[in-house]
C-alpha cells in the first residue's frame, strides 16, 4: 500500500512538474522585457496574409521602441468574441495602448469603451468602428480615394471610346466594398446607374465568383470594355472569362497583394491600387508611443496611403510600375 501510494504520487506529480518547468521557461523569456510599457495588438484571422502583415508591422514597431507586446487574433472571419476576451486580458495586464483590427464594426464598441475608460489608448487599423470616434483614432486605407484612382485611370485609358463598364462588387453593405465602388464611379465621373455601366455582379471577392460573374456579364453584354473589381482575386477570375471570350478589356482592381502586382506585370490586370498594411501597423504603434510619452493623443480617421500600380501610366495620375510594386507588396 505504502509503495503504491508513493508511485501514485509520483505519477500525479509528473504533469504538474511538466507544466511547471514549461511555464517557467516561457515566463523567463517574457520577464526580461518588463522595463517599458505594454502594448496590445489584436488582429483578425492570420490565415489572411494582409492581417498577418499588419500584425507583424505592429510588433516590429513596438520592438523598435523596446516595448513589450501582447498579441491575439480572431480564429475565423467575424469572430469578435475572441477579440473581446483578448482586450479584457490586455486591460487586466495594464496595457497602455491597444492596436485593434476589429472583426466587426459595432461588436467591439463596448469593450473598446471599457479599455478607454481604463486610460488605454485604442487605435483601430484597416477598418474603423461604428462610429469611428468609439476609438481614439484609426489608420486605414482611404478606399474612396483608392477607387477614385482606378476610376480616373480607366477613364484615361479608354480615351474617346464610349465606356461599357462591368462592376464586380462585393456585398455593398460592407463599408470597404461600398467606398471602393463609389470611388470608382466618382473617379470615372459617372453617377450610380449611369448608362455607361453595362452591368453589375455580386462576387465573393474570390477567383471562382469573379470568373462566373464575368462570364455571365459578358454573355449579356459582349460590348463590355472596362471592368472594376473589388479585389485582385476577383480580377484574376474575371480575366479567365475575358481570355476565353478573346476580348480586349481594361481591367482595374484594388489591394496591392504580391499576386495582384504580378498580375499587373503580366498584363492580366491593367492597374491596381496598393494599400499598405505595414504602414497601418507602424503608424498606429508610433501614435500610441507618442501619446503615452506625453505627446498629443491621436485622433480621426487617417489614410495609411494608396498608390496606383500600373505599367501603362497615364498623364496626370501619379503611379508606380509593377517592379516597384513587387518590392513593396504584401502577402504571397
Amino acid at each position: 500500500m505504502l509503495k503504491m501510494t508513493s508511485r501514485t504520487l509520483r505519477s500525479i506529480a509528473m504533469p504538474a512538474t511538466l507544466a511547471l518547468t514549461a511555464t517557467m521557461a516561457l515566463s523567463a523569456g517574457a520577464q526580461a522585457q518588463d522595463k517599458t510599457f505594454l502594448i496590445g495588438i489584436v488582429e483578425q484571422q492570420l490565415a489572411n496574409p494582409f492581417f498577418a502583415k499588419l500584425q507583424q508591422a505592429g510588433v516590429d514597431a513596438a520592438k523598435k521602441h523596446g516595448l513589450e507586446t501582447m498579441t491575439a487574433e480572431s480564429s475565423v472571419a467575424g469572430d469578435s468574441a475572441t477579440q473581446v476576451a483578448a482586450i479584457e486580458n490586455m486591460i487586466n495586464r495594464g496595457a497602455k495602448g491597444i492596436v485593434l483590427d476589429p472583426a466587426n464594426a459595432s461588436a467591439l464598441v463596448k469593450i473598446v469603451q471599457k479599455a478607454r475608460d481604463a486610460g488605454i489608448i485604442v487605435v483601430t487599423t484597416n477598418t474603423s468602428l461604428e462610429p469611428a470616434t468609439a476609438a481614439d483614432a484609426s489608420y486605414e486605407t482611404d478606399n474612396l480615394a483608392a477607387g477614385e484612382l482606378i476610376g480616373k485611370w480607366a477613364k484615361a485609358r479608354l480615351g474617346s471610346t464610349p465606356a461599357r463598364i462591368a462592376m464586380l462588387d462585393y456585398d455593398l453593405s460592407d463599408k470597404t466594398a461600398k467606398a471602393r465602388h463609389d470611388g470608382f464611379l466618382k473617379g470615372f465621373g459617372i453617377a450610380e446607374g449611369a448608362p455607361e455601366i453595362a452591368g453589375t455582379a455580386l462576387t465573393q471577392a474570390n477567383v471562382e465568383t469573379g470568373q462566373s460573374s464575368m462570364e455571365n456579364l459578358l454573355s449579356a453584354h459582349p460590348d463590355i470594355n472596362a471592368v472594376y473589381t473589388i479585389n485582385e482575386p476577383a480580377a484574376q477570375g474575371a480575366f479567365l472569362a475575358i481570355k476565353r471570350a478573346k476580348k480586349d478589356i481594361v481591367m482595374t482592381s484594388i489591394d496591392g497583394s504580391c499576386s495582384g502586382v504580378r498580375s499587373v506585370a503580366d498584363g492580366t490586370i491593367g492597374a491596381t491600387v496598393m494599400q499598405f498594411p505595414t504602414n497601418m501597423g507602424t503608424l498606429a504603434v508610433e501614435a500610441i508611443v507618442k501619446a503615452v510619452n506625453g505627446g498629443p493623443k491621436p485622433t480621426g480617421v487617417n489614410n495609411s496611403g494608396t498608390i496606383l500600380i500600373t505599367d501603362n501610366p497615364v498623364d496626370g495620375i501619379e503611379s508606380k510600375d509593377s517592379k516597384w510594386g513587387l518590392e513593396n507588396c504584401w502577402g504571397e
Partner: protein, 354 residues
C-alpha cells in the same frame, strides 16, 4: 473475496481523491508561477475575467461529464452552442435569411428549442438507430454549423446597434441574462455557472439518477440484467448536454453583445478536454462534477495565464493539447497501478486496507 473487492473500492476512492488533490495542486502551482511573473494576475479584475471565461466551458462540461459517465460522447456541443445563439439572434433581430422576426422571448424559446431538438436527435440516432455517439454527434456538429450559417447568412448580429433597434425592455432584459454587471462588477453570467455547478453536483452525487448513471456506465451488461433504464437515461444525458450548450451560447451572446458565424466549434474539444483532465474515464462509469470543475479551472487558467505572460495564441493551443494528453496518460498509469494492486491483494487473500 468480498473483502478484497471492498479494498479495491477503497483504493479507487483514495486514488480519486489523490487525483483531485494533484489537479488542485497543479492549479495552485500554475497560479503561483503566473502571479510571480505578472502581479496583475490576482487582481480582482483579472479574477473576474478568469471566472467569466469559465462560464460556457463549465456549464457545457458538467453536462458532458454525464454523457461521458455513460460511456458516450457528445462532440456536437460547440456547434449547438453557436446554433442556439444564431437562431435567437436571427429570429429576434432579422437580417439573416429568414423573412420574418419574432419578439425576444419567442426567439429565446426557439434557440433553446433547437438545442433540445439536436439533443433528442443525438439520443435517437445513438439509442434507436444504434450508431456510435462519436459518429452521431460528429455529424450533428456539421449539421448544426451548417444550419447556423444557413439561417444567419453568415451575418454578425449586434443587438445594441441593430437596425431597427429592438424595444428598450428587450435590450435590457437580454443584457440582463448574462452581460449585466452586479455589485463589484461581477457579470450575471457567473451566477449561471454557480447554479449549474450546484445543480449538476446534486444530480450526479445526491440522486438515484446520478448513482445509476455511474452504475450503467461502469457495466452496461450488468445494468441490462438489473433492468436499469439505460436507453431512457441516454436520451436524458444527450438532451441535457445539448440544452446546456444552447443555454451557454445564448448567455455568451448576451455577455459579448454580439454573435457571429462559426465562432464555436473549438468549444467541443475544450469541453471534452476539461472533462478528461478532471478525471472522467472515456470508457464510462467514472467521473465527478468537482473533478470536471477543476479541469475547467485548469484550462481557463492556462488560457488566461499564458495570455498574461504574453505567449501567443498558437502556443497556447499547443499547451492545452499537451496538458490533455498528459492528463489521460496519468489516468491510464494510475488505473494500471490500482488493478495490479487489487490483484496482489486478491492473491494474498488479505485486504490491503487495514
Amino acid at each position: 473475496m468480498t473483502q478484497s473487492a471492498l479494498a479495491l473500492l477503497g483504493q479507487q476512492k483514495v486514488l480519486n481523491s489523490l487525483r483531485t488533490l494533484g489537479l488542485a495542486l497543479a492549479i495552485v502551482l500554475i497560479a503561483v508561477i503566473v502571479q510571480s511573473q505578472r502581479s496583475a494576475f490576482l487582481s480582482p479584475e483579472n479574477m473576474l475575467t478568469l471566472v467569466r471565461s469559465m462560464v460556457a466551458l463549465g456549464m457545457v462540461a458538467f453536462a458532458q461529464m454525464l454523457v461521458i459517465l455513460l460511456g458516450e460522447i457528445d462532440l456536437s456541443v460547440g456547434a449547438v452552442y453557436g446554433l442556439a445563439g444564431t437562431v435567437t439572434a436571427t429570429l429576434w433581430l432579422g437580417g439573416g435569411s429568414l423573412p420574418f422576426t419574432t419578439p425576444l422571448l419567442v426567439a429565446l424559446a426557439a434557440g433553446l428549442g433547437i438545442a433540445l431538438l439536436t439533443g433528442l436527435l443525438n439520443g435517437f440516432l445513438t439509442v434507436r438507430a444504434g450508431l456510435p455517439s462519436f459518429i452521431t454527434t460528429l455529424g450533428m456538429l456539421n449539421v448544426a454549423d451548417g444550419l447556423s450559417l444557413l439561417i444567419s447568412n453568415a451575418t454578425t448580429f449586434t443587438p445594441a446597434y441593430n437596425e431597427p433597434l429592438p424595444p428598450a425592455w428587450e435590450l435590457s432584459f437580454f443584457h440582463g441574462l448574462g452581460g449585466a454587471l452586479m455589485a463589484y462588477d461581477i457579470p450575471v453570467e457567473t451566477l449561471w455557472l454557480v447554479g449549474a455547478f450546484i445543480l449538476f453536483w446534486i444530480l450526479r452525487h445526491r440522486t438515484v439518477f446520478g448513482f445509476r448513471l455511474m452504475a450503467m456506465g461502469g457495466n452496461a451488461e450488468a445494468a441490462r440484467v438489473a433492468r436499469l433504464p439505460l436507453k431512457k437515461y441516454k436520451y436524458v444525458v444527450f438532451v441535457l448536454s445539448a440544452l446546456m450548450a444552447g443555454l451557454a451560447g445564448i448567455l455568451d451572446f448576451s455577455y459579448v453583445g454580439s454573435v457571429g458565424p462559426t465562432q464555436s466549434s473549438s468549444l467541443s474539444f475544450q469541453v471534452i478536454a476539461a472533462v478528461v483532465i478532471g478525471g472522467a474515464s472515456l470508457n464510462g462509469g467514472r467521473g465527478t462534477i468537482m473533478g470536471t470543475l477543476l479541469g475547467v479551472i485548469l484550462l481557463a487558467l492556462l488560457n488566461n495565464g499564458l495570455a498574461l505572460l504574453g505567449v501567443s495564441s498558437f502556443v497556447q493551443l499547443l499547451f492545452i493539447g499537451l496538458v490533455t494528453i498528459g492528463a489521460v496518460w496519468l489516468d491510464l498509469v494510475s488505473q494500471k497501478l490500482i488493478r495490479s494492486a487489487g490483484q496482489r491483494s486478491v492473491r494474498s487473500g488479505t485486504g490491503a486496507v487495514a
